[in-house]
Symmetry: C2
Subunit: 193 residues, 2 copies
């Protein structure tokens, strides 16, 4: 374990974060279509060309926060014993992640909710969630047995991620209800037999 992953890596993470935050802020302020990649890059004190080295488009930059959360969730899943019921593992990871979100960078939730009313983003959010689908499926495949392990793992991963996505979406539309509640209810509704 390298405590400090090297200056280069830290700088990259910093620029990526700066770009993400600039994108998110500008998108909230001026609407997604009102923002240009150039404006985002300027705000992050970086050239437009460099933006392209980090993200393939503004939407990807906007959802980098979600991406980081999902990566963290993968960790939480991998940390758990392999002899537990897969859905139990997933549920626990989801709830822990939600707690962390509240304890730590609650910022995320707040700004995330302000994206409400920019519906053109929906498809890109979905895309962000499906990026980790294969990775999660691979992890789950190790925890399954019987027939069709590959397919069942993919289905389980997709079902879980889509449920999390719906929970977050629903939560942005009902900001008064605690996210933890929504996640709980959503997972309960999706729990496989």
């Amino acid at each position: 374990m390298d405590e400090t992953p090297g200056l280069r890596e830290r700088k990259k993470a910093a620029t990526r974060l700066a770009l993400h935050e600039a994108a998110l802020r500008l998108a909230i302020e001026q609407g997604v279509d009102g923002v240009t990649v150039e404006a985002i890059a300027d705000t992050a004190n970086v050239s437009r060309r460099t933006f392209s080295n980090y993200f393939s488009g503004k939407e990807e930059a906007i959802f980098h926060g979600d991406t980081m959360r999902l990566r963290r969730m993968l960790e939480l899943i991998r940390e758990q014993p392999t002899d537990e019921q897969p859905w139990t593992v997933l549920t626990r990871a989801a709830l822990r992640l939600t707690e962390e979100t509240y304890l730590g960078n609650m910022e995320w939730l707040i700004r995330r909710r302000q994206l409400r009313g920019h519906p053109s983003l929906a498809s890109h959010q979905v895309a962000a969630y499906t990026v980790v689908e294969r990775e999660l499926a691979a992890e789950l495949a190790d925890r399954l047995s019987g027939d069709d392990v590959g397919l069942r793992a993919r289905v389980l991963a997709a079902v879980f991620l889509t449920t999390m996505r719906v929970a977050v979406q629903d939560s942005t539309e009902h900001p008064d209800r605690p996210l933890l509640d929504v996640v709980n209810a959503a997972l309960a509704a999706a729990a496989p037999a």
Copy 2:
């Protein structure tokens, strides 16, 4: 019921279909990135500008086949009695749709499978499936009762559609296995408690 929805509508449907087929064929032949919107429009004997009147990008054109299938599935769902278990309704609709796909335009399945190996499309396929999510959720909400009807309907819709998507994806990667098998197995793995 109007048997013939008018000349104008028929022409539009024809153009849309021509664009879709051109997009699909060219994408299979030359790879998704190797095709320009202009080439697609040319092949369909229509101006580049007109393409934009029908689709927002080549990927949307490519997945128009999936979109039509999903619209058909919505019909199959609406046709069913409202006092059945929602998941039963969904399962039945999925199986009927799969049968229809085999009986009628088997073309779809064949060409669809040839898209394997163009992974950049994955996110757009997901997008195509989520377009109908709200519509399906609305339909399901009428068939649910109890608490959290709105959320549960959205979760159910999302879970079902994502399962269908995974089934189709998996089927393109295992072309030897009948699609009906895959759909069955996927739905069984996702069936909620």
